[in-house]
């Protein structure tokens, strides 16, 4: 029985794939830009979180590139401090962490990431972690979803 030339068949497959890929346009018309809520939306999210949780001392919302969208205090200092925390969390593990929780003698720090956005919260000591994380996720998810809905109605390629 004659042996089949495997290399030849793989070459043929590669040639077929190449022809298929050339038919796919480099940019697709349905691609949408990254979801970045407005600072006003982010400020509303912060106000909502502070209303939901009495333990919150301060918080900040960051966009996909780590830029500050809103903060409860000095924006520059919040951005720097939040970036340091998220950077430390990224270095500590092999993948970006979804939830960061650091409890110290002076207070507790939480950070949650969702849909490219991040929210960082400083709370009183002994805040219930599960409730805090739930509230943060809820606010962040609503912020991302609301913005997507608004964008889908208004964005034109």
């Amino acid at each position: 029985m004659p042996e089949t030339a495997t290399i030849v068949s793989q070459d043929a497959r590669a040639a077929g794939m190449a022809s298929m890929l050339t038919e796919v346009p480099a940019t697709t018309s349905h691609r949408s830009p990254p979801a970045v809520p407005t600072p006003g939306d982010a400020e509303a999210a912060i106000a909502r979180l502070r209303e939901m949780s009495a333990d919150v001392r301060g918080c900040a919302v960051l966009g996909p590139d780590g830029e500050l969208l809103a903060a409860s205090g000095d924006p520059q200092r919040w951005q720097e401090a939040a970036a340091v925390l998220l950077g430390a969390a990224d270095l500590a593990g092999d993948a970006p962490a979804e939830l960061v929780h650091v409890a110290t003698e002076d207070g507790e720090v939480f950070a949650v990431r969702h849909a490219g956005l991040a929210i960082v919260v400083v709370s009183e000591r002994f805040a219930l972690a599960s409730l805090m994380a739930f509230d943060m996720r809820t606010v962040l998810r609503d912020l991302a979803n609301d913005h997507r809905q608004v964008r889908s109605r208004t964005w034109r390629p």
Partner: protein, 70 residues
């Protein structure tokens, strides 16, 4: 015979006492910690005597200082 509402009040007061004792014990026994959670439910502790833990605690302290400013 004890009035029904008294029994309910006693029971609620008992639960409140239990909860207060739990929170008191939690305050006394809880130590500082740094925890990270990844998608899928995986989590890990980073004690302060490790490099990653020390960095996380320093970053958290900085954030707490920022939140203290008004």
């Amino acid at each position: 015979m004890e009035k029904p509402h008294r029994a309910i009040l006693d029971r609620v007061a008992g639960y409140a006492d239990e909860a207060a004792a739990y929170l008191r014990r939690r305050r006394m026994s809880r130590q500082p910690f740094a925890r990270l959670y990844w998608p899928g439910g995986r989590g890990a502790d980073f004690p302060p005597d490790t490099e990653a833990g020390r960095t996380l605690f320093l970053a958290a302290s900085r954030l707490i200082d920022v939140a203290r400013e008004r």
